[in-house]
């Protein structure tokens, strides 16, 4: 089995040092602007209790691109992205080992606060999960308000966040309505807006379309293609064709290992590994 890391030597150097000292808000501002965040994973091992789900995985994720993770159920793809923003350790009994570097800083360094990691690396989940006790508007602001971030012009933040997920025109008259009153696809875009409002550098998406109909899915896919010009996106998907449509890079996971990682074109036209070929063509199992 071949492990692949596609990385030019220059990109190995951290662009900016983060979290070495208490970052000033000015530095946070700079980081938010330089959203070409470089994520790289080295020898990642993770799992629950005695079972190891991710078995020593190394890969570098391209900045300002969408990287899709595909693989059969139980291959560890969800666990993998949950390790990237330290969400995995929230589950009781979970363990993580290895390195996950954001712009050269290991997010598992003992000096790093997981809460801060999650603010920089946003996450969108499988089922749309707007806060039921909040309005559309408050949902967009939830991350900022709960983190006690000073918001300059509230209405502007709400509008620009909703515009960036192409939801503004649909909900501008429903800002006071509960977030859960929107359709499934709108709720999911609302959740993406909620993440974006925090100006993260990386967006992780864990099967964001699996609960949506084809039209809503198409809108999210279009949105992902737009967002990746500003963010580094990692998406886990069960739908190979979704990966083929939206991702620049695709990684195939199997049994907790990285089997193949390459340009999406290559994975879907001439993968080099037999297992990848069998999976993408539907010859699995």
């Amino acid at each position: 089995m071949q492990m692949m890391t596609i990385q030019s030597p220059a990109s190995l150097k951290p662009r900016l040092q983060v979290a070495t000292s208490a970052p000033s808000s000015a530095r946070e501002q700079v980081l938010a602007l330089d959203s070409g965040a470089q994520l790289s994973v080295t020898e990642l091992r993770a799992g629950f209790g005695a079972s190891e789900v991710i078995k020593g995985l190394t890969m570098a994720i391209d900045p300002r691109a969408t990287t899709a993770i595909i693989g059969p159920s139980g291959c560890g793809k969800s666990t993998f992205i949950r390790c990237l923003n330290r969400m995995h350790e929230v589950t009781p009994g979970a363990f993580v080992g290895g390195r996950v570097e954001l712009n050269g800083v290991d997010v598992y360094d003992s000096r790093v606060d997981p809460v801060r990691v999650r603010r920089r690396i946003g996450m969108v989940f499988q089922k749309p999960n707007p806060f039921p006790s909040m309005s559309v508007r408050d949902n967009v602001l939830a991350g900022l308000k709960l983190n006690r971030v000073k918001i300059g012009n509230v209405e502007e933040v709400v509008e620009s966040s909703l515009r960036s997920v192409a939801l503004w025109d649909e909900v501008k008259d429903k800002l006071k309505q509960p977030g859960t009153s929107l359709s499934g696809g709108q709720q999911q875009r609302l959740c993406i807006a909620r993440s974006i409002a925090l100006k993260p550098e990386v967006l992780l998406m864990d099967e964001p379309c699996s609960a949506l109909d084809p039209i809503a899915t198409a809108r999210i896919e279009e949105l992902i293609s737009e967002l990746r010009q500003h963010y580094t996106i990692v998406i886990v998907t069960h739908n190979m064709h979704q990966a083929a449509r939206i991702a620049q890079k695709t990684a195939f996971f199997f049994m907790g290992e990285l089997i193949e990682y390459d340009e999406t074109d290559v994975i879907f036209t001439r993968p080099s590994q037999k297992q990848t070929e069998d999976y993408v063509t539907g010859r699995f199992g």
């Binding site: 999960n129 991350g143 709960l146 959740c191």
Partner: protein
């Protein structure tokens, strides 16, 4: 045709269909009967309360002190106010402790300490309330050398603890894990996630649990006999014995005087109404804007 003997036409008569319909009807009737059996005692209880106590209810009953036997009028004002003191003080002591314990169990309870707390709460909820009264008699009343509002409230607070703790835990557990993850994923700290998202979402359930616990202690008699005792006058200090509606109802009901009997009925009806109002109010107060 041979096929007809195996597959019945949709319009053909079918003896087993009649049998199935009969079974369905019998089951339905059985369920209805059970409901009637369950509701009957409740209905008859309410009926006797209203018919026997309705006439005794008056403003005086809740504002006047009892009068010596033989005199007309008087009321249980001291008991009503005493109950208010006891329940209020017990809630002030019990609710915060119980809700925080519930949060602990739900959010951090997957530990040995959590298991221990859960076990204690379960045991506590099984202890007869009179035992709680005796315990408080031992640790509060005897050292203070007097019955008091404080002692009564402590006893009631202890009785509240397990119910509210476990309801809070259950209600928080019912909050979908996705909301927890949504907040954590936004970089919200653990405690703020709990305080801002989880409690807010679980609030209706928690408030219901609290109001049910309050309703329960408002009717408790046994633990008060050893702690708050009774007082035929207004209670001015928290370390004085205090009258309460349940104890007064008990005293009046076992007395031989018909005047007292009717006052007991009235007070009992009032107590039930208060509990009813409390439950309904809890329902309305917690009806959130968003579902």
């Amino acid at each position: 045709m041979s096929a007809a003997s195996e597959t019945l036409g949709l319009l053909e008569a079918d003896s087993s269909a009649a049998k199935r319909a009969l079974h369905a009807k019998l089951f339905e009737w059985g369920c209805m009967l059970a409901v009637v059996v369950a509701i009957l005692p409740l209905g008859s209880l309410l009926w006797s309360l209203v018919s026997k106590g309705g006439a005794a209810i008056s403003v005086d009953l809740f504002t006047e002190l009892p009068v010596p036997l033989g005199e007309m009028g008087g009321g249980m004002g001291n008991g009503a106010l005493g109950s208010l003191y006891l329940v209020g003080l017990a809630s002030l002591m019990g609710v915060p402790v119980a809700v925080l314990s519930g949060i602990f169990l739900s959010e951090y309870g997957e530990t040995r300490a959590g298991a221990a707390v859960r076990f204690c709460a379960d045991v506590l909820s099984g202890i007869p309330s009179i035992t709680v009264g005796l315990f408080v008699y031992g640790v509060v009343v005897l050292p203070m050398k007097r019955f008091s509002v404080i002692a009564g409230a402590i006893a009631l607070a202890i009785i509240m603890l397990p119910t509210i703790t476990r309801t809070t835990e259950e209600m928080l557990r019912l909050v979908p894990n996705q909301l927890r993850e949504a907040a954590l994923g936004l970089g919200v700290s653990r405690w703020r996630t709990t305080a801002s998202i989880l409690i807010r979402t679980a609030l209706p359930g928690i408030v219901t649990g609290v109001s049910l616990a309050i309703a329960r202690i408002a009717g408790e008699t046994a633990p008060l006999l050893f702690t708050a005792f009774s007082n035929s006058n207004w209670t001015e200090y928290m370390d004085d014995p205090v009258a309460s509606l349940p104890v007064q109802i008990y005293t009046y009901a076992v007395s031989p005087y018909s005047e007292w009997h009717s006052q007991a009925w009235g007070a009992a009806l009032a107590l039930v109404l208060v509990i009813l109002v409390l439950s309904v109010a809890a329902k309305f107060a917690t009806r959130t804007r968003y579902r």
